[in-house]
Symmetry: C2
């Protein structure tokens, strides 16, 4: 399945606990869309969060993030990796 | 050492070979700055490339990318990850 990198802005001050809770919320329902969130990285200073996932489509990934209350601002399919 | 996510724009049409060559060029000189590039993901359609690294500072990471001819457009220190 395709791999995706999505980006969230505006999460300034996000804590490790909040990031963990948001990620767990995604994991809890990701099977509904056959999505798998692999990893997330956050910069509390700029408020940027990057999430790596795989799934059937961009829309599927976005629906999970929307349902858990943290819609992504950008999403990119990343077919190349090294 | 801190972890960083940097973002390159404008790499529309980047191929797997080009991404591999760019990554290898970074790896070849990264020790000069005590930087370690871990992974890179590319979207040839939008031209976005995301690089995950660790190193002593943002400036150190940026210097490696600049010397290898692909300066990053954005760089974020990402102290939180899940």
């Amino acid at each position: 399945m395709p791999t995706f990198m999505d980006v969230h802005h505006g999460m300034t001050g996000v804590t490790a606990e909040q990031l963990g809770e948001a990620h767990q919320a995604d994991l809890a329902i990701q099977a509904d869309e056959n999505v798998h969130f692999q990893h997330a990285w956050a910069d509390p200073t700029s408020g940027s969060v990057f999430c790596l996932s795989d799934g059937p489509s961009r829309e599927a990934v976005l629906r999970i993030h929307e349902r858990t209350g943290h819609p992504a601002d950008e999403i990119y399919e990343v077919p190349l990796e090294v």
